[in-house]
């Protein structure tokens, strides 16, 4: 038993992934070298993708890897490079201890409350199956998107268009 959980392959996998995510996240927040940050960022996103896959959401996991670990990370790194003279140098002055502690305390309270609530809730029992769905998640997702979620799906296109046009309008050089 580990934290009250039976030690199975899944459990081990989960804790490994959790470790990766949290450590990467902490690294990302504490490192000052931009390249190191980027690497740990990828760690976080990949870890999350792993969690998704562990939860049977293979498609979502894949999208996570492609969008986050791929596209967004690259976008970030490019932006970092664009807004910085060199890659190796220290990114910026860091936050003061006082501010850091206060922020940490506030967030700690917040997270503690959420954790407390999570712990006290009566969640449904364990699902043993790795894959609870009887069909391929892709099919299910496709069905859902094109039947139940048609409207949001169409809207997302609007969101993306807005983002695209907006980014262009704002980021283009003054004519």
């Amino acid at each position: 038993m580990f934290f009250g959980l039976p030690i199975t392959g899944e459990t081990i996998a989960f804790f490994l992934l959790a470790l990766i995510i949290i450590v990467s996240a902490v690294f990302m927040l504490s490192l000052t070298n931009v390249m190191h940050m980027a690497v740990s960022l990828v760690g976080v996103f990949l870890g999350v993708a792993g969690v998704f896959i562990l939860l049977g959401a293979d498609f979502v996991g894949l999208v996570q890897i492609m969008v986050y670990a791929g596209a967004i990370t690259i976008l970030m790194v490019f932006s970092l490079m664009l807004t910085h003279r060199g890659l190796g140098e220290h990114a910026v002055r860091e936050v003061g201890a006082m501010r850091g502690t206060t922020t940490f305390a506030g967030i700690a309270v917040l997270v503690a409350i959420v954790l407390y609530a999570i712990r006290n809730a009566q969640w449904p029992g364990n699902t043993t199956a790795l894959q609870p769905f009887h069909q391929s998640t892709v099919t299910l997702i496709a069905n859902a998107i094109f039947q139940q979620y048609t409207v949001p799906f169409e809207l997302v296109s609007a969101v993306l268009t807005v983002a695209l046009v907006g980014s262009v309008v704002i980021a283009r050089k003054e004519e």
Partner: protein, 101 residues
């Protein structure tokens, strides 16, 4: 495997993201931290989708939508950042202080 560990993980990630958003000085890192918060929410959704008494796919779909929107958000954020950088030559959060009081 149970639900709580996933939720706990998400909560912690949410907290970390929030912490990053509120303490990091580089605007890009701030934006990334916000993405981490969104990721936390996605973990929640996917975990719920998995562990619900009647597992349903809606959580996963929701997560997918979120990923798409988050990407759009990041793109816009970076665009505005570039515009800001162009006029101010800085990407420090603390330099966003021309408007106060």
């Amino acid at each position: 495997m149970a639900l709580q560990p996933f939720l706990a993980l998400a909560a912690i990630l949410f907290g970390l993201g929030l912490y990053g958003a509120l303490t990091k000085r580089n605007l890009i890192i701030v934006l990334i931290s916000i993405e981490m918060m969104l990721n936390a929410a996605n973990i929640n959704l996917v975990a719920f989708a998995h562990f619900l008494p009647k597992p349903n796919i809606e959580g996963q779909v929701y997560a997918l939508f979120n990923i798409a929107i988050a990407a759009a958000e990041v793109a816009v954020g970076l665009a505005i950042l570039l515009s800001f950088f162009r006029t101010r030559d800085t990407s420090d959060v603390r330099d966003m202080n021309s408007m106060k009081w």
